[in-house]
């Protein structure tokens, strides 16, 4: 096993990796930018190396500086975390050239799975189902009609040369297909000077369900079951769970998806931890979407349900050890849910809310896991993704896990900045969420139907809120504004009494 490992990342994932390193007695080297000098990962690590200015292009994305730090501190291996350089084949290759172990798959696997078309080819070759469609241009409307009949309606026509919705048409009925083909084609011609249009089956309100994989360098490859990540906002996952409520009630589905994911990864010669993402339609058909060649943000829900430490397993695999687990050793117990806590204001269009944390109470007690990077007095930098923490809970059943998450959200208090904790509270209270009716447009629909609005609060009297608002207003002592007038409009006798308030 390694004696010292560098973490080429920041924030909660760097803290997460350091925790396992410490448990294993392995030295940790943090890297940091100007903005992160006093961030928790730097404070927790055994050693720390400065990379550069705050923008990630000057620090966390600088391959040479990271490798220099590894050499200087004598780190034998680098954990890339997620994001930044974690899926950069050039970085994986540069580590190998520098004689440092990259804790992840080979550069070749990253390359193969990093290209969507190449990954799709690998998946098809391995027999994993992909979204039915063709990726080359259609000849004419008649061919579009024939293929659409084959795949089944609705279908989507897309411009080969395009993006951004231009040259794209949804077609629900055969009567419309040829006209839609002509429209899409001429729009594509106008927009991209390329009239070519291709066709794929439209998966309506799909679920996003992914399979966690683990493999060693000796061809042993197993799956650790699924995570349901259908709750997304702007294509960013916000709530994840294991098991998926759909998979949990569909016998054999986990095994089928797991086997398909293992086949695709095996075809790419994959080792270390990785995740195959699938779209799932209303009839439980699943289609290969892409492969993520790194540890996922949402890995804690898998850890909670399987009892495994994925970072430890990553380290063992990277150190050349054989996977000590077979598929028959993997068992799933209970239910886990994770919420991604961001510094953002759900009541103001989810606008980011960096700043200094003035007050912090963390949830704790039975079944709670908090992967965070914040402390009281820390300033959330404006330079990076505003993820503060991942709050995960485990309980025997999904209903119990939801109740536990609501309890934990109630205990969690972050002052000084805005967070999306209140948003999660509303989501977890939503009947559609509780019923497990999830799909990737769930949050858009939830927000559109006013899901954030407060329900009546019969158990909390308005009187209490009004009293506290009044007392708080009286207790504040804003300075005079220089004209001899009070800036706050309070009468002098209230001010006189104020010094005695709330001692």
């Amino acid at each position: 096993m390694f004696e010292k490992v560098l973490i080429a990342n920041r924030g909660e994932i760097a803290v997460r990796v350091i925790r396992t390193l410490r448990e294993m007695g392995i030295g940790s080297v943090a890297v940091y930018s100007d903005a992160d000098r006093t961030s928790l990962h730097v404070r927790m690590a055994d050693e720390a190396a400065y990379l550069g200015a705050s923008p990630s292009s000057e620090s966390y994305l600088r391959i040479e500086r990271i490798l220099d730090a590894a050499r200087k501190h004598g780190a034998e291996a680098i954990h890339p975390g997620y994001g930044f350089l974690s899926e950069n084949a050039e970085f994986a290759a540069a580590c190998a050239d520098a004689g440092v172990v990259f804790i992840g798959p080979s550069a070749e696997s990253i390359r193969a799975m990093g290209s969507k078309t190449e990954a799709r080819r690998v998946a098809i070759a391995a027999g994993a189902p992909v979204v039915p469609g063709i990726t080359t241009g259609l000849r004419d409307g008649a061919q579009a009609r024939q293929l659409a009949r084959e795949f089944g309606y609705p279908v989507l026509l897309k411009a080969v040369g395009g993006g951004g919705g231009k040259g794209m048409r949804r077609v629900d009925r055969e009567e419309e297909i040829e006209a839609a083909f002509r429209d899409a084609s001429s729009e594509a011609e106008r927009s991209f000077r390329n009239a070519e249009v291709y066709l794929e089956k439209l998966i309506e309100k799909p679920r996003h369900i992914e399979i966690q994989l683990l493999g060693d360098r000796y061809g042993n490859l197993i799956h650790l079951g699924e995570r349901e990540c259908s709750l997304q906002r702007r294509h960013q996952k916000v709530v994840e769970e294991c098991p998926s409520p759909l998979v949990a009630r569909t016998p054999g589905m986990r095994e089928k998806m797991g086997e398909a994911a293992v086949r695709a990864a095996r075809a790419a010669g994959y080792y270390n931890a990785g995740t195959v993402e699938f779209l799932v339609d209303a009839d439980c058909n699943f289609y290969f979407l892409e492969m993520n060649t790194r540890l996922q943000v949402e890995h804690p829900v898998t850890e909670l349900v399987t009892g495994l430490d994925l970072v430890r397993l990553q380290l063992e695999i990277a150190a050349g050890e054989k996977l000590g687990l077979g598929q028959e050793d993997i068992h799933w117990r209970g239910s886990a849910i994770e919420c991604r806590v961001y510094a953002e204001d759900p009541y103001n269009n989810f606008f980011p809310s960096p700043g200094t944390i003035t007050r912090l109470t963390r949830p704790s007690g039975p079944g709670i896991r908090l992967d965070g990077c914040v402390y009281d007095g820390w300033t959330v930098p404006i330079d990076y993704d505003p993820l503060l923490a991942k709050l995960a809970v485990w309980a025997a059943t999904r209903d119990d896990a939801i109740a536990r998450m609501l309890r934990a959200l109630g205990e969690y208090d972050v002052g000084g900045i805005k967070t999306n904790l209140g948003f999660f509270r509303r989501i977890l209270d939503d009947p559609a969420f509780r019923g497990g009716h999830l799909h990737t447009q769930f949050i858009d629909e939830f927000l559109a139907r006013g899901g954030l609005a407060e329900s009546a609060a019969p158990d909390v009297p308005l009187e209490v809120a009004a009293l506290v608002a009044a007392i708080h207003t009286l207790a504040q002592t804003p300075a005079a504004n220089g004209n001899g007038q009070r800036a706050d409009g309070l009468s002098p006798w209230l001010q006189t009494g104020r010094s005695e308030l709330l001692r």
Binding site: S353, A457, L467, H472
Partner: protein, 165 residues
Amino acid sequence: MNLTIEFEGAAWPLELSREGEEWRFRLRGADERCALVRQAEPDVYSVLLDGRSYDARIEEAPEGLVVVIAGHRFEIGVRDPRRLSRKHAGLGQEGRQNVTAPMPGKVVRVLVSPGDEVAAGQGLLVVEAMKMQNELKALRRGRVETIAAREGATVTAGEVLATIA
């Protein structure tokens, strides 16, 4: 003392008096009640009322105060009725409205000029931060008095970008 509480568009009188930790209060002319109130942490109050315990957190918002109790959000304005101006000038029907930057960022667009009449909710300028664009809106009807912000300028949190009279 007498204050006015604003909640969901209505204004209600609140009478209150204090003796040590005990606050006697009467909202909307209802029966007088007595609560034990202590500040537990900055902006966090512990309230005991009729044997029940409430933990209330205060968030300052441009529109007034947000009081969060057991996850329920109450948006509340507090006003001293003998004064015309409110504690939170931003919402006032009278007086000047200062439009401030909610966070550090860059002004990407200025949508109005001094002298323009603006309606409540009308966009005044666009500030970009953390790769998100946020439109700052007029909280009420008025005339643009000053625009301190320039397109492309870097601004700090709380900086006054425009005033509406």
